[in-house]
Symmetry: C2
């Protein structure tokens, strides 16, 4: 398979890691996806392993290389336009979340996807971490019964972010960028669809990061009277033990499961006390996507989920902007 990269900003490492020990698929080109984006350092790094060409224009790259797969990870406000160009050429698309930063642009990407025969998955790579795979397995096996209540957390260090993070137009907002992971976990782990959302966010205490929100809270109502919250912040101190502090706690009618500090805990009526579960091995999100493209089974992330979670994140952001409850 011929693979190209549009952009060098988001989780391009998913692509690189997903190709480790893979000698049949090749990264053949890289181009910036956004006007002020610099791809040279990633190009230099990849040139050690791949016969790769650097382009200044991704349209030219797509038309010339005619790749099987394009991975889009540029400034977040430009994901959607690049995605549309990829899909219009029937090229399989591995795209950084959020797929789009406006609802109208999301509709355009959806339309392009429907017309194309390409496969599509968004980079919800945290699903593939051992602790999330483990939680998923136990929930699907019935360890907590029917899901009733979910609480997810995304907490990051802020540090000093690039300029494009400081504008809503190029960044898209903290709920879509950081929160969409946790929004994805909730629908993936529960199997329940979104019904409504109420959210809040604030740029206070953002240390000169312009329009970037450093705290946010989302309250989703799902089917079957299931509720779920996501709390999001960039308030983790610089000398915390890790960059992030991802969590989810899910209470069901037969038990409670929890991902906390990269471990998974389960309590239910079959278990005495609070049991730490043995972890599944991690998987590679891009390897999973490539297998799907090659016809070797399904990807764990579907196109429908990728669109739905993006929509949910953008509706949550709209709720927070407008301070109102939004029904899906």
């Amino acid at each position: 398979m011929k693979i190209v990269l549009i952009g060098s900003t988001g989780h391009t490492n998913y692509v690189v890691e997903g190709l480790k020990d893979n000698y049949e698929d090749q990264i053949v080109g890289i181009a910036p996806g956004s006007e002020t984006e610099e791809v040279d350092s990633l190009y230099q790094k990849l040139a050690k392993d791949y016969d790769i060409k650097k382009y200044n224009n991704y349209i030219e790259m797509l038309d010339q290389e005619k790749p099987d797969v394009a991975a889009v990870a540029c400034h977040f406000g430009d994901h959607a336009q690049a995605a549309i160009e990829v899909l219009n050429r029937n090229i399989n698309l591995f795209v950084e979340k959020p797929i789009a930063t406006t609802l109208s642009k999301l509709a355009e990407v959806k339309a392009a996807y429907k017309k194309s025969e390409a496969k599509l998955a968004a980079m919800f790579g945290i699903r593939y971490k051992p602790w999330f795979l483990t939680a998923h397995k136990y929930i699907k096996e019935g360890a907590i019964g029917e899901v009733r209540l979910m609480n997810a957390q995304k907490s990051y260090r802020l540090g000093q972010r690039e300029d494009f993070y400081k504008k809503r137009e190029s960044y898209g907002g903290t709920i879509p960028w950081v929160g969409s992971h946790a929004i994805d976990w909730m629908q993936w782990l529960s199997g329940k669809d979104f019904k409504s959302v109420y959210a809040s966010h604030s740029t206070k205490a953002n240390k000169n990061h312009g329009e970037l929100e450093v705290s946010a809270l989302c309250h989703f109502d799902f089917e079957d009277e299931v509720a779920g919250s996501v709390n999001i912040d960039y308030l983790r101190p610089q000398n915390a033990t890790s960059h992030d502090d991802d969590r989810i706690r899910i209470a069901g009618d037969k038990g409670v499961i929890e991902v906390l500090k990269e471990k998974v805990y389960l309590i239910n009526d079959q278990i005495e006390g609070n049991r730490e579960l043995p972890l599944l091995a991690k998987k590679e999100v891009f390897a999973d996507f490539l297998n799907w493209v090659k016809g070797n089974g399904e990807s764990m992330i579907t196109a429908e989920e990728s669109f739905r979670v993006t929509e949910a994140a953008l509706q949550a952001r709209r709720s927070a902007d407008q301070k109102k409850l939004i029904h899906f």
Copy 2:
């Protein structure tokens, strides 16, 4: 001081524990606060330590004993009426939360309080646990800077509850009964007042507990764009290691503090890694109230907070009932 108990249902143990090693104050009477309430077993227990009289009617008890303090802890739907009778007699009132189970009844209690010279505190006794006292101390000392985002949890075992829990009229709802503790922590620890609430709750999976909600989620907006969630459930399995799993995590602009499993953790830029804080000693909520009544300093729980938290809990319940955003 002469103390009477109206009811034997809620946290009457706060009164009993608060009087340990206290030989100057006496419990002189007990009467049911609700029609179907039984106080005999508590009476028998107290009669070993106190010269106490059992009444069938609390009005008669109040008028005959003319106590200095009445503690009200009957069926939750009857707190307000008993509170009004106590306040109308200028007797100091230590009252189980929620003070009232309807907003109109809450307004009546407030009016009675304003007319009286009595002191009043609601039984927000969890504040006095070592982990909450410790979190409070560090926050007030500036350990996390300005509070930006809060997430609190109340999780209980359901077990088999008395019949009065199964009716909204006598029980009042899970957000006021269980959730009001966590709602109290948020306003107490942040010092921020409530602006609006959106909430959900569900009776699904309540194991034949009628109208009792077993899961709930509240999203509060506070002053200064601070947001706070409370997730509440009765979904803790019977063989979990403890009855409850109280938590709060508060992110500020200078650090994050967390109460988790009866410990307190702090991260900020002065601390390497995740520091477990030394715990303060627990205090007795009723002893604190009695000291206030005697003129020896203030109570940690004010009447204003007791009313405000009750109001916030009832507005959250109304939001969940009506599925709409409510402004305070």
